[in-house]
Amino acid sequence: MAAKAKHSVGRITLRQDLAAGLYLIPFLIVFIIFIGYPVFHSFWISLHRVTIYSDFYDIFGSMEMVGLDNYRRITSDPIFWWSVVLTFAYAFMTIVGGMILSLALALALRKAKRGFGILRAGFFLPNVFDIFVVGVIWLMLYNPNGGLVSMMLSLGGATEAAQQGVLNNPWLTLPAIAFAMILKNAGFGMILFLVSLANINESIFEAAQVDGASPRQTLFRITLPQLRPIIIFLAITGTVGSLNAFGEIFAMTDATGGSSVQVAGETLQSARISAFHLFMRFNESAYGEAAAISFVLLGIALIISWINFKILGQSD
């Protein structure tokens, strides 16, 4: 993973530090001011109870040190753990679904044929569109009164789901959002797979063919192992994306977090995944708790990325 420096080996001199520093300083200054300091500030806030948004120009005017109280509250909050569970479900759906679709598209469009260029560009284009805009459009498509998807569902016989509206059904909300996001993001994975496929040496496939390997064997024994770096990349970016998934939930549940559902005696919301839960707390001006949540999430994210890495194997 780590790229080795190309030249100059041996002891690092002060002069080299200075030379590198010149390149790094602009980035690091902005990073430290606008990301590094806010992280520490957030951690500091996470140890406080900050509830009253009294003065616009002095947001943190009323802080009360509470130690690890916020963290204790989070870990015993069923809503938080529910949001974590939902995040995992969402990550699983988007990563697996997205990978299958983008790999299928890449395999289908790998040959250079007329019109394929347009198809590839077309599959990719939705990627660059604003998530809020796309979310709102899907909201319209899923609308029970005249939304296109609802129309298709009722034509396909799922009248009940169509009349209720897919996004109003607690069990379908998150899959429906995941479905929309898979379609939106499939082009990204497709491009990565396409280039990776092009880089596989053609002679490997020829050899497999000579040995009489079935297409299925070729796919699982040759193609997929060759694509492992991309799969790892997509799994990690997918995890990070799911942990940060806010825009799509916000847009497609109309900022509510989805309809309510009863689980183990608790009233929980069907699409309140972690990032959205964080937003809700934030929106309630519970900055201390929101900050604490983000650090718990960071811990989870670090662990998952590490596991991802271990399971899927070190590459390069």
């Binding site: 790094l24 300091y37 957030s42 569109f129 005249g146 990565l192 990776s196 972690s274």
Partner: protein
Amino acid sequence: MYTLIVLIFVFVQLPMLWMVVTAFRVKGTAFRLDMIPNITVQTPPSEFDPFALPRVGQGERVLHFEFADEQASSVEVQWRAGAADDPTEAQSADLKRALDGNWFADVAVDPSVFTFTATFDYRYSIDGGEPIPDPRRPELTTAEGDWTRVVVEGTTFGLGADRGSDGDRFKVYVSEGGGGVARVIADPGLSLSILLGEAPRIDLPETSAGVYEATFEPGGEATYRIVRRRGWGEAVAEMYTLDNFKAILGSEDFNFGRYFMNSLVVATFAGLLTVLLCTLGGYAFAVKQFHFREPIFRILLASMLIPGMIFMVPQFSIVLKLGWMNSYQGMIVPHLANVFGLFLMRQYISQIPGDLFNAAEIDGASELQLFRNVVIPVCLPIMATLFLLTFVSQWSNFLWQLIVNTGDSPLVTLPVGLQQFKGQNSNDWEKIMAGACFSILPITVLFVTLQKYFIQGLTAGAVKE
């Protein structure tokens, strides 16, 4: 196989197609599924008014009067026949109240008094007051101003009409066994036809300007509707319009040009500066040797995992302290330290063969020359990619730009400006979608232009992961 690909393709493009179509739709119709304009419409009764036409049954002649007044408690009609210089004695009848607030009366008349080719006067008296001419037909008011004068033409009238229960149907009474004439007065030049119960459509040719007539011969009682055929222009105009775009471009309180320029400035400068910082930083991490290189890089990478929301309030208080509210730098600078961009740049630069640097050094290139003449040209694809990605994310950045601009800021960007079409209770979807079309336009143009670099850069950065 190919059908499946095309099907998925359509599904992937669906949101965009839907957006464009919605942007052209008439206000309030965003959720209607009928997209194909209909050139035949069933006309509402008021438009064609088959009432107030005299009708005949077998051996009798009936006048049908109708008057709309929801307030009145009684309406009386007075009528007389014959030429103006020698009218018959005026007769009167009380109108009955229909459910919908209309008053009506069917009055049988003596055929010997009322001939068909004749002048015929009538007027109404409401609540017993002073008689007034028919307010619906002011152009037919007599010179004295107190009667409505109708010149009745033709020889037979077989059609009588009552408003049916569902609004756009009429009940027809025609004489037993006898034929009838359907007669409708409407705008000239239309194409009209009548659907008579189960019977086939009867086209009504225009007999004189605005008068449509046809004979038909059903027996007994039947229902009919009048079907009007109209041109495509009118049909399309009923469903689609350019008004949404006009509202966005030409509204006084929605300064589109200003918002668009602000977005353009913010996204462009954010893109350029991010590329600059990340290229410099990525170069250092890829090529240079320095203390704590790997730990620093790991910390930077780990920061990507933190949900971005949590930076928002501390960043806001920093911007506040720097006095950067309502300023371009307040919108641009906080997002310049793009770690993902740094990562992309480092991956890309670390793939450049070391020989390239060595050769340049042997040629006596200075550090600056090396960077400018070797690194930048080789990195153009990934720089274009990063520019595009940053441009896109800052172009559509909504929350932050909402926060750093107060309500009266002249630097409001397009996504923030478009919010004004989102109402408290109802959203003006058609206008929002028209705005979305505009906001997606520059991104599409940029993507199509930079597509080649983009795909090249993206893959090179990631494959080597």
